[in-house]
């Protein structure tokens, strides 16, 4: 079954601009503070699997009222270590109750030689690397019994000779693994700025039919004085340049789930909901342009 068929076979997929369900406001959301304001929540199952306390019950109640998307950080899809059997079993058990339409993780390595480094570290952009990663993505998809998406990361040290090699690498993984792309347009912008390339040229290499979900986020300078490197911190509001990339993609793909990420300097929920509304306006405008283009093409 192709990844599209796999996704279509599952429950209805939410669209619109959702938020990450963070522990800082999980209790508020549980009490209904965001009801009617958010089309879906994205969670990281790494924060729920094999963990008790108030979280599981709260998540279960939230999941009764909202669609939940699943996005992880710890599979180390590009790592050299064997996939973690216990972790995969834990994820599969967790998904049995939650039934997210897919699971996503990053095109990176985050563990090495049994050491979990808890960060998104870059991979070499070679065919050999793409082949190895794609095989692991396929295996994870089979073992989790659901479609997988991979996310393009921000990188600060390229392990290839040209930035556009990264797009080619992403495409090769997508096709070899027959998986979807969680396209993080903030990461495209961060990389384009840090490494000096045109983000639209990068996006033009991506088969948009494989884009299943989008991420947008804010970023910050590593050194406020030098301002020569921006880091994907998810710690600031989304910049207009990232809005523009979001719009560029949605104009071409139509409706998708878009996740506004915020993991650092998390503002009060009301403030985050207001930013969600602002990003949603960008998304809705792009969606309207997409519909108009479709209508024009249909009439022609």
């Amino acid at each position: 079954m192709s990844f599209r068929a796999g996704i279509a076979a599952r429950a209805a997929v939410p669209t619109g601009v959702g938020l990450g369900l963070r522990s800082t406001f999980l209790a508020e959301v549980d009490r209904g503070a965001a009801d009617g304001r958010v089309p879906f929540w994205e969670i990281s199952p790494d924060n729920y699997v094999a963990r008790g306390g108030s979280r599981p019950a709260r998540l279960a109640r939230v999941a009764e009222r909202f669609p939940i998307l699943s996005h992880g950080l710890s599979l180390s899809l590009g790592g050299l270590d064997a996939l973690n059997d216990d972790f995969l079993s834990g994820l599969r058990g967790f998904f049995a109750g939650l039934q997210p339409p897919w699971h996503s993780d990053h095109l990176c390595f985050s563990a090495h030689d049994g050491k979990m480094l808890h960060d998104l570290l870059p991979l070499p952009w070679t065919t050999a690397s793409a082949r190895r990663v794609a095989a692991r993505v396929r295996e994870v998809s089979e073992r989790l019994e659901r479609p997988m998406l991979v996310e393009n990361i921000s990188y600060y040290l390229p392990l290839g000779s040209s930035p556009l090699d990264e797009a080619a690498f992403v495409v090769e993984v997508l096709e070899r693994a027959d998986c979807g792309l969680l396209l993080d347009v903030n990461n495209v912008f961060v990389n384009a700025t840090n490494h000096g390339f045109d983000p639209l040229a990068w996006l033009a290499q991506i088969p948009l039919g494989r884009v299943v979900q989008l991420h947008v986020a804010g970023h910050e300078f590593w050194d406020d004085e030098r301002q020569d490197l921006i880091i994907d911190t998810h710690g600031a509001p989304v910049r207009s340049e990232v809005d523009a990339l979001l719009a560029w993609v949605v104009e071409r793909t139509g409706a998708l789930p878009v996740l506004l990420e915020r993991d650092e300097n998390i503002p009060p929920l009301a403030e985050l909901l207001a930013e969600r509304d602002r990003v949603d306006a960008v998304y809705q405008a792009a969606l309207a342009r997409h519909a108009a283009q479709q209508a024009t093409q249909g009439a022609a």
């Binding site: 790494d46 924060n47 050491k115 480094l117 991979l123 040290l157 390229p158």
Partner: protein, 264 residues
Amino acid sequence: MSEEALIRAFAASVIELDAPAAVQADVRQFFARHGVPPEVAARLPETAAERLAIYRTMVHSRLRAAVAEFLPKTAIRLGRPRLRREIEQFVAEAAPKAPYFWRLTGEFLEWAGPRWASDATLPGYLLDLARHEWSDAEVGNDPAGGEAASGKPLALDQPVQFDGTVRLRRYAWAVHRATETEAPPAEATALLLYRDRNDHQVKTLELTPRAAAVTARLLAGEPLQAALTDACAELGTPLDDEFLAAMAGYLADLAERGALLGAA
């Protein structure tokens, strides 16, 4: 293969203790030392050493921040430079193993415990304090807890059923009374911790020596009567009405709190 060697070299720059100096001295030689072919290492950008240092800082800072969040009083006493060195050493020698980020503080303490216990430059109470601080997260996030009660009343010839989160912790210091700046009194201390079934908060009870002795035995699965008898024998106290009344009150309190569920 050069792809795998690149990953190994990159990881080494984050993990190895001497990596910062070696990378700064000659980043291409550092990669070559980890099996990257010279022609591949030669293509690394000029910024490679600086960017590897940034990655190392990001990884270590994230781990350090998590440890400081879970062990705030311990982190204050260690101080930022010492905690930074501890994390560097931890990553090089052991590192987190679990894919669950919240667990790394427990993994760090497991590694740090023997080191701190024999380190005369640290306060004698520091390890107890750190373990006590971690207990809050350990019990608060324990997958156990909230089990259905057996429905059987306590019986002298039966073991008891505790909530799955109940823990007995013994310390040489009254670490639960430590403030951000004040040292805890040097005082043998037994604490019972459990996660409240209603509000999910971790509750801490300071136990008398006899309550601790009985609890230790009950947690080990001894029947109630044997636990009471053996505790008295251990403490050299008579198994009299006063003792039985005190233990009856203690167990009733635990039952009211939802920490003691009845006979097993």
